[in-house]
Symmetry: C2
Subunit: 467 residues, 2 copies
């Protein structure tokens, strides 16, 4: 049963399971109590903190455990923003951060009137250090940058950006949720967050490291636990399991990274050969070893995931039709790449080669099936050319109002052949994904994307045929 | 190895352990995903929510899981206070709430300028419904009342207070952390919070029930999990274990309550017979079945706990010397009872009768030993009568500045016999516990507590001998 979504949550590592079970008998008491059971719980907690700090690359007293990676991000950001209030209320983030970072930045903006500066990314999803430097202002109290992107696997230039931030006196928070199992984060970061269930630890454990010297004032109700930085009774058995499994996956990381990178490279190479009209996204080299993402033209992401699930493959997607808000993933949008038919594959440690090969065998038929059901790319029906009035070149208007991704792009493709070189096709659409996918289609097809204009309903996207 | 501190954290119930282990294989995936592993995790989560809701007495869609009882309290209070902002910023709490409630109220006060009204309690630690009613104001957005007190075991008149709140249109949040394992909370409460590790479930799971119709606006960064009311990836194996163990302890609750109540009654009766100068606190009847608290005059709480731990008994204390802030428990203060030599015993389910009997055998010797080391109550040395100037009755001043609980009371007791009836003893003290313990000593000894006055250093506490 191939599970290819480790970036969402990894199956429990055997060491995590053993450590969890072994500490259930000793880790249930209150570590703040001085009696026997409390002291035992406290010793387990201390040992876990030391092990986790060593893996992170910080001092034990710089690291606290939180109930999740999300809590670590929220606590880290709000603590710095409160502590550095006198500096200002500005936050700088990359445009492709995890939603926990972006939502915490938005909440800060709404609550305090502080400003959030988003640093754009290149087509691979990476920030450019110079651009990041330009997004640090006089009033910037906090900068955030993930170690590697959770949707496309691209590694960020953290060490360079940390150096920029250091020279400007701005603390950098690194969300290392996706990379911490593979190795420590290099560079002079100030805060770091992680999430145990991403590396094969149990759910219920995040970690937050705050370097000595960072001005930090926990927000919210006072609580004595975890140095006042994370309220609530600690889940010590889970914390022990998290720390033990982090050590275990690290011991296996170098060899497993080589193995999975080869499998991912195979997917990156073979998918575009096996399936027409596919865009593989993310940086080809500076990337996580286990994660690869591609998008398929003329494909409904939800239908694709459903068919893969029927064939026992569990993957995830950034397509708009697979999100509750019907908007494409903010990461794909920031990268300006195709979002329809999007598939993210993230291989758990130990994934057998045969599973990847079976996926590659299966995928072309699945994509073809989904495309056929949609009548893509050049089938009949659905297109309604309603005008051809351009006196210079022929012009076709396609009304795709009320129709969801990938239909607007399919309709565009269907009529495109009818337009002479120099002519245009205007697609009327009220689907948010069209804004991303129509320009991406032009890029893939080598056609000219003229631009968008407001229309009576929705938006008019104009494409010129150049070949 | 008798563990008598279930009110801090209970050992894992066997059913919790089984459920946890059984769900590790199925509960690790993201329940928001539509693939097989996600659906399985989602089914486990749904089933746990139904079971927990049934035990709480609410609808499954009214209940969310949080990472701890503290998180449940924080989220519940801030959600109502945000949602009912237009009504006002007032919060009414009992003076003996858990610190998570009081700290959340203080944080609200500091952040918004809202006012916190504390409802006093009687000598047993209970609020009086009429008094509670008088503490609800025009601008009261939220009222909080625990189901039963965590330090002295007194049950609160929740149903009556809920009715008062309902008639005034104020939602009542009930912190049911200490009682939920024993049964549902009766009455028309609006919000309810609980904590799994208090009933023998695992750490890492709290629950928050919010009745339909309560205006509720989650504060903090947006997050889609748990209806937007508790951010972060859910710990499903722990949630499953929490729900399963709640059902299990409830099935055993009626019989176990009868058994433990008899043991607690034995402690309540025997301790004052076996140990001189003891005050048993908390309501004699309206109380949790498993919890009993008493204070011992002339005893250092830390030394007492240390000696009990050496004899293998794990208990907790509200004495000032056992707290990091060197102030007595706010609960004992609000009740106006003795805080020195305080011992809280909370029996886990299944506590053998023989352990309680062994405790009763052991306690007198331990208390005597601690008292002897302190030279109490009538030993020599330490008292320095520095003046006797009162023209009417003889007056003695005892300088106990710089000396911690229980020394000021011991010094008082030592010189008291030297003063004739009608005369006074003035104790100079800068120890916060003296404010509570000197009046409590007067009450226990049938002497008159005249009052306190500011002194050059610390406070002068005046006691008149009446017999």
């Amino acid at each position: 049963m191939p599970y290819f979504d480790a970036a969402s949550s990894a199956p429990l590592h055997p060491v995590a399971r053993q450590a969890l079970q072994a500490s259930l008998d000793e880790g249930w008491a209150d570590p703040a109590r001085l009696y026997r059971e409390g002291r035992r719980a406290g010793l387990l907690l201390d040992a876990a903190r030391e092990a986790a700090a060593e893996a992170v690359g910080c001092r034990p007293d710089e690291l606290v455990f939180t109930p999740s990676g999300t809590h670590a991000v929220h606590a880290g950001m709000s603590g710095v923003l409160s502590g550095r209030r006198r500096v200002g209320l500005g936050v700088t983030v990359s445009a492709v951060e995890h939603s926990s970072v972006l939502h915490a930045a938005s909440a800060h903006e709404a609550a305090t009137g502080g400003t959030v500066t988003e640093v754009p990314v290149d087509r691979y999803g990476a920030v450019v250090p110079d651009t990041y430097a330009g997004a640090l202002h006089e009033d910037t109290a906090l900068a955030c940058l993930q170690s590697a992107n959770h949707e496309v696997g691209t590694e960020q230039p953290v060490a360079e950006v940390a150096e920029v931030c250091r020279s400007r006196g701005v603390p950098l928070l690194v969300d290392a949720a996706q990379s911490l199992g593979w190795g420590p984060v290099e560079g002079a970061w100030s805060l770091l967050t992680g999430s145990a269930h991403k590396w094969g630890g149990p759910a219920g454990v995040g970690l937050l490291a705050v370097r000595k010297g960072v001005r930090f004032a926990p927000r919210g109700p006072a609580d004595e636990r975890e140095s006042g930085r994370s309220p609530g009774f600690q889940n010590i058995p889970a914390i022990v399991a998290a720390a033990a499994s982090l050590r275990a996956v690290r011991a296996e990381a170098a060899a497993e990274a080589v193995r999975l990178r080869a499998l991912v490279d195979r997917i990156r190479t073979r998918v575009p050969e096996l399936v027409p009209d596919v865009e593989v996204v993310g940086h080809p080299e500076h990337r996580l070893p286990h994660l690869v993402t591609f998008s398929c033209l003329y494909v409904d992401g939800e239908a694709l995931l459903h068919e893969l699930d029927r064939a026992d493959f569990s993957v995830s997607s950034g397509s708009s039709c697979t999100s509750s808000t019907l908007t494409p993933s903010h990461v794909l949008r920031a990268m300006g790449v195709l979002s329809e038919g999007n598939v993210r594959i993230s291989l758990p440690a130990g994934t057998p080669e045969a599973e990847v090969d079976r996926f590659l065998e299966l995928l072309p038929g699945v994509v073809t099936g989904v495309r056929e059901k949609l009548g893509a790319p050049a089938g009949a029906g659905g297109a309604r050319p309603v005008a051809a009035t351009d006196p210079v070149g022929a012009s076709v208007v396609v009304d795709a109002l009320g129709r969801r991704c990938p239909i607007p792009v399919i309709e565009l493709a269907k009529v495109f052949g009818e337009v002479p070189v120099g002519g245009t096709v205007t697609v009327l659409s009220d689907d948010e994904a069209a804004r991303l996918d129509i320009p991406a289609w032009c890029e893939m097809r080598g056609q000219e994307y003229v631009g968008e204009q407001p229309a009576d309903h929705g938006v008019a996207y104009v494409v010129r045929r150049v070949s």
